[in-house]
């Protein structure tokens, strides 16, 4: 029985221009989004490659310079540009890049990767100089983002579904075919099921149909061979299917109200606005007002005060520092060593501003946690999180990157700062053995667990809407009123 309904529904849909029109618009949107995404990730990859090239060229030049200077040093050589000076090497001329390369599916969802830095130039300076955790205040920027495939899926795909299904029952009643249909030995629920099943299949094919091509393009002509990419592609498809099911369940629920088609259209547009625009924006506002981040001006002021205060006590601090770190100086130290003093002061300042920074980080973390929980208020937010996560442009992967940067920074400091205190000359070998940043990809089963957990939220919404729809539809009248 269902098969007859589905077949007839396909004939009807096929004969209607709407399907072809919206399918065409959707295809164009996806193509444009894909182009946008690929352009951005290609730019990122190119930038990272250029940074790496710059690194190694600079290192080659420095090593050459060392050889040259050993033969005859220029007369007026500043110690800040002397490649043999450990302070100069660690702090300025020998800096290295730490970059997070885009994940295999990064072009699908740009997320906040265009707002957050994806590479840092690491030096022996305080970490604050390169990773100030700025607050991103604009919720629209936070939650809307660029025109990428994720945007098309989250914002436009629901509209496509609503255009195809806002009147799937009311339209039949208005055209007078519903009484003809219900004079046959079939239940209204089978009619609903058949009509929605066909539409679901059409939209799913439409939404996922272009993906093999997309994955082909991302894989650079090969279908996703990178590690974790296949799992990502499967998760991506699962998320889209769950999201499609949610919007169809909503269409059933709204159609069950026995309203006119025009009323259904308005109601569904309102629901779209609520879930896709309003709740995400309000969540952004709520999160920042519940956990406001202290003024950045205040933080900078406090850091300045601490720093000028510490600089004034420079010699004292250095003395205490060397006492605390006898291994650095092996008993002897030069109280007039400016470079050593700089690090001693820096360490003190870091320690003193730590509480202020901690409040900052803590508030940001609380914001993040709250936003993470509130995302279950709207399937669109869950979806954004999930798609960002799968594409490796989400918060978790970014924090994973920052943690690695922090470790690398510590390694860097541990490599160069003792040399500053020991006034050890930097040689080509020192440069060769300097720490390198090797990006460690996130563990993909963990990503999958996070994504699937989010999808449970969407599925819960879907089941609720479908259960309501199928139960309310019992009261649906074939003849209106």
């Amino acid at each position: 029985m269902l098969i007859h309904i589905i077949k007839n529904e396909w004939r009807n849909l096929r004969a209607d221009k709407t399907l072809w029109l919206v399918a065409g618009l959707f295809a164009v949107s996806v193509a444009y989004a894909m182009f946008n995404g690929l352009a951005w990730t290609n730019f990122q990859r190119q930038t990272i490659a250029e940074a790496a090239a710059e690194d190694s060229e600079r290192y080659d030049a420095l090593k050459k310079q060392i050889v040259e200077y050993e033969r005859s040093a220029p007369e007026k050589l500043s110690r800040f540009s002397d490649p043999r000076d450990p302070a100069a090497a660690g702090r300025n001329i020998g800096q290295k890049y730490a970059a997070m390369s885009p994940a295999p599916l990064a072009s699908l969802s740009i997320g906040q990767s265009d707002l957050l830095p994806y590479y840092f130039k690491i030096s022996t300076r305080s970490q604050q100089t390169f990773t100030a955790n700025d607050e991103l205040e604009n919720p629209t920027n936070l939650l809307a983002g660029r025109f990428d495939v994720a945007f098309v899926v989250i914002y436009l795909l629901p509209l496509l579904i609503l255009v195809l299904s806002y009147n799937f029952l009311s339209g039949e009643r208005e055209a007078g075919t519903l009484p003809m249909l219900l004079a046959q030995p079939i239940s209204l629920r089978s009619v609903v099921l058949g009509k929605i099943a066909l539409r679901f299949a059409v939209v799913t094919v439409l939404a996922l149909g272009f993906h093999p091509l997309v994955f082909f393009l991302i894989g650079g002509g090969k279908l996703l061979t990178a590690e974790g990419a296949l799992l990502g592609a499967v998760l991506w498809a699962a998320a889209i299917v769950a999201y499609i099911a949610f919007w169809f369940a909503l269409a059933i629920a709204v159609n069950a109200f026995n309203w006119k088609s025009a009323t259904n259209a308005i109601a569904l547009a309102a629901v779209w606005l609520l879930f896709v625009i309003l709740i995400p924006s309000l969540t952004g506002v709520l999160v920042t007002s519940v956990y406001p981040v202290p003024s950045r001006v205040e933080m900078i002021g406090a850091m300045r005060d601490a720093s000028s205060d510490a600089s004034a006590r420079g010699s004292q601090i250095l003395a205490k520092y060397t006492e605390d770190h006898p291994e650095l100086v092996q008993g002897e130290y030069d109280p007039n060593d400016a470079a050593a003093r700089t690090y001693a002061v820096q360490e003190t300042v870091d320690r003193e501003v730590q509480p202020i920074l901690a409040i900052y980080d803590e508030q940001l973390q609380k914001q993040q946690n709250l936003a993470n929980n509130l995302r279950f208020l709207s399937p669109a937010m869950v979806m954004q999180e999930a798609l960002n996560d799968i594409s490796g442009t989400g918060n978790a992967r970014y924090r994973h990157f920052l943690a690695q940067v922090k470790i690398f920074h510590a390694e860097w400091q541990n490599y160069f700062i003792p040399r500053v205190f020991q006034k050890a000359r930097v040689t080509a070998a020192t440069y060769d053995a300097a720490p390198r940043f090797v990006w460690q990809e996130e563990n993909s089963p963990a990503v999958a667990r996070r994504v699937l957990f989010g999808l449970l939220g969407i599925i819960a919404f879907t089941l609720a809407a479908a259960a309501f729809g199928f139960s309310a539809i019992r009261r649906y009248s074939a003849i209106g009123g």
Binding site: G176, T177, L182, P185, S187
Partner: protein
Amino acid sequence: MLKAINLTKNYNGATALDDLNLNINAGEVFCLLGANGAGKTTTINLFLDFIAPDGGKALIKGFDVAEQPLETKKYLAYIPEQVNLYKNLSGLENLEYFSALAGQDRYTKEDLLGFFDEVGLRREAAENRVSTYSKGMRQKVGIAIALAKRAEALLLDEPTSGLDPKASNEFSELLKKLSGRGCAVLMATHDLFRAKESGTRVGIMRHGRLITELSTDEIGHADLERIYLENMRN
């Protein structure tokens, strides 16, 4: 075949159908007459389970409509005032769909075209979109669906209103053909002439009550009109 037992329906306190008792046997054509709002359409909608009765029951082939709607609809064909079909599909596709829903899904294209012949629709029209059909043609598709479905009971709600006399006459002929095959027909109509021509019995309704029942053999056209008007005046 079609039976109403103390069938009653109220709408917001107003009685639309009051204690209707009716029995239509196979081969009979029962015409319900009466002013608008007399309860004719309510009766048909009750037999279709489109509305639930407030009292009594409607039976089709002995099955209670409210209790076993899907069972009763197997034997039932329905032709409303407007046979509304899927306009973007052809008449043939519509016929195929509705008869398949009724469980008759083994017809070949030739079988289906045979029904078109039977109801007097040109085969060339079968492949055209229904949006190009006249009302008379759509009503004929309605009959073709009833034939294809092998309906044993037919419910018609003013099926000939708005048809020109020739189309109306052709429709009545088809109706006779169906009842001749043993189909029980219940038709609501305003057309006294048509009721006398194609009906075996007529019933006159007023304010939800069936007030008079006549056999069409016993009366002439003029008698029927006189009796109808008398009943309306009281």
